[in-house]
């Protein structure tokens, strides 16, 4: 039963929480605001918050000068591609672990988790050299493959925790009625598994979109996603705050929106089901 809370207490907490939340959010807000300023206004002292001449010229210039949409589509292909590829491989595995568990299932899951603990620099050099020699350096398919591998443990774990919540009796009943394995999956499992699969897809798109170790090291220009594109602003010429802000806003907006829809899944996915 909820307790009655005094209005004064509630107002106090409201004020404190809003101030802190706005402070934490401020760098993002400031980036968005700056993206609508001219370069001169972006570095004006004292800085202006809202009362400046709003302009869209930075967005036009970022697109014209460095072809934002190319990098955007690279990000889309890489994050969607690696997630769907991973899903294809992980669904059967998670299905098997959830519905035909053996004594070893837990061990296999823990082992998969442990592969995430290997620092990426341990694999960087061979992967870089193999990619260089096979022409996969700066290619989207190469990155799709690598990001699929690094997110595979998370995808398997997430699907496993979702699948385990599907009552096994239903599957048994279907099996008794003579449903084949294929039918079991398409007619019974799939409809019940869709929400869990959707959550998994959402979280992994976000993770792949923001992945910055492999994307920075394995791409240069042709296949460069937004992470690499933004990094090119680290050694700029002349005034560039407004353009940096416009590019940044466009790079983070899609996942910011996706992310807000996936708060709950984030907790489950990133804690490997340990916290729900």
């Amino acid at each position: 039963m909820a307790r009655k809370v005094s209005t004064a207490r509630k107002l106090t907490f409201t004020a404190i929480a809003w101030v802190i939340a706005l402070l934490i959010f401020f760098p993002i807000l400031w980036t968005i605001l700056t993206s609508f300023k001219t370069e001169a206004e972006a570095v004006a002292s004292p800085p202006s918050f809202v009362f400046f001449d709003w302009t869209l010229e930075n967005y036009a210039e970022v697109q014209a000068r460095s072809d934002y949409f190319k990098h955007f589509s690279n990000s889309v292909v890489i994050s969607l591609g690696s997630t769907l590829f991973g899903l294809l491989i992980a669904i059967p595995a998670a299905w098997a672990m959830a519905f035909s568990p053996t004594k070893k299932t837990k061990d296999v899951l823990m082992w998969m988790l442990s592969t995430k603990m290997m620092p990426p620099v341990g694999a960087l050099i061979p992967v870089y050299l193999i990619f260089r020699d096979t022409g996969f350096l700066d290619s989207r398919s190469g990155l799709v493959f690598v990001l699929m591998l690094i997110n595979l443990p998370i995808i398997v774990w997430m699907l496993y925790t979702y699948f385990r919540e599907i009552p096994g009796e239903i599957l048994e009943a279907a099996r008794m009625d003579g449903a084949s394995l294929a039918k079991e999956i398409t007619h019974i499992l799939a409809p019940m598994a869709v929400p869990g699969i959707a959550s998994t897809v959402l979280l992994n798109i976000i993770l792949a979109w923001n992945e910055a170790f492999w994307t920075l090291n394995l791409t240069a220009s042709k296949a460069a996603p937004l992470t690499t594109f933004i990094a090119s602003y680290s050694s700029p010429e002349g005034l560039f705050y407004a353009k940096l802000s416009a590019a940044s806003t466009m790079a983070i907006a899609p996942v910011l929106i996706l992310g807000w829809f996936s708060q709950k899944q984030l907790v489950r996915g990133l804690t490997f089901g340990a916290v729900k």
Binding site: P92, M118, V121, G122, I230, S234
Partner: protein
């Protein structure tokens, strides 16, 4: 109950995932180990030769290694300290009754979705820049000399940037744990006259212990390998003041083309990560049962 038939099916279904991950774990690692015993520089192709433990000797006696090791630990520890304590406080705050809780939550979580290169560049230029940054404007407005953050306190600056990115993660997970706490238990303690602090120490904190260990474990995995934030802000500098192990290996391989030396560094990084993982797994082993 699983029949032999379904069991072989199950094995077949798990095979692609297991084989791919096994390959991903073994092939690069084996190659890194192999390279680490070679004198191998990309600028001198065809000159590769067996070098014994030379690469390890050079890497481990290089003063840069100890600086990088210390930086890695300070960076990881500093961010963990800020995010865990900050996350507990934020979770306690967000758990209170308030107006617009949903929006507050959304605002607090947002930094987690910002890609590392964006957050690092925004902080570097628009906040920490000594001429045009907002911190400089703030300092000047109260009559202080602006601080050149990334030149004067580079490691601290990177800790702050990375902590900003991970605070939402800690907050979100600790809040989820906090909200699963039985209200009646808290009320009972309150009626027995327990104050806020004793309620926190004896009821709330033990309840959150599992979530806290999960936060520490997962963040440590990612924090040991911080890379993009360093690359776009300081390039490991000034000097090597912000070079961590990951960045040191990257610089040796892709900037100096010393594949042999960098591979030895990569193996050292793997060993260090395994030592940390071993202790973490033991520490949280009990906590994660149940």
């Amino acid at each position: 109950m699983a029949t032999l038939h379904t069991r072989s099916h199950a094995r077949l279904m798990m095979a692609p995932s297991v084989l791919l991950l096994l390959g991903w774990m073994i092939v690069p690692l084996a190659m890194t180990i192999y390279f680490s015993f070679l004198r191998y520089n990309l600028l001198m192709p065809g000159m590769e030769e067996y070098a014994g433990l030379m690469n390890y000797r050079f890497f481990l006696t290089d003063p840069a290694f100890f600086t990088a090791l210390a930086n890695t630990l300070i960076l990881t520890g500093g961010v963990l300290l800020i995010t865990v304590i900050g996350g507990i406080l934020m979770a306690l705050l967000l758990d209170q009754p308030m107006f617009g809780q949903g929006i507050v939550r959304i605002l607090v979580i947002a930094p987690f979705f910002v890609m590392p290169t964006v957050s690092a560049l925004v902080w570097k230029n628009m906040f920490m820049n000594p001429v045009n940054g907002l911190f400089a404007a703030l300092a000047k407005s109260v009559g202080l000399a602006p601080l050149d953050w990334l030149a004067e306190v580079p490691l601290l600056s990177i800790i702050l940037i990375v902590a900003w990115q991970w605070l939402p993660f800690a907050t979100l997970i600790l809040l989820t744990a906090l909200q699963s706490l039985d209200e009646e238990q808290k009320e009972a303690a309150e009626m027995d006259g327990a104050g806020f602090f004793s309620r926190f120490i004896y009821i709330v904190l033990p309840h959150m212990a599992r979530a806290i260990t999960v936060v520490i474990l997962i963040q440590t995995i990612f924090l040991l390998s911080v890379f993009a934030e360093i690359l776009v802000t300081t390039n490991g500098g000034p000097g090597i003041q912000t070079t961590n192990i990951t960045y040191l290996v990257y610089a040796q391989a892709l900037l100096q083309f010393d594949i042999g030396g960098a591979s030895a560094g990569g193996i050292v990084a793997v060993v260090l990560a395994n030592i940390v993982a071993f202790f973490l797994m033991r520490m949280i082993g009990k906590n994660l049962e149940a």
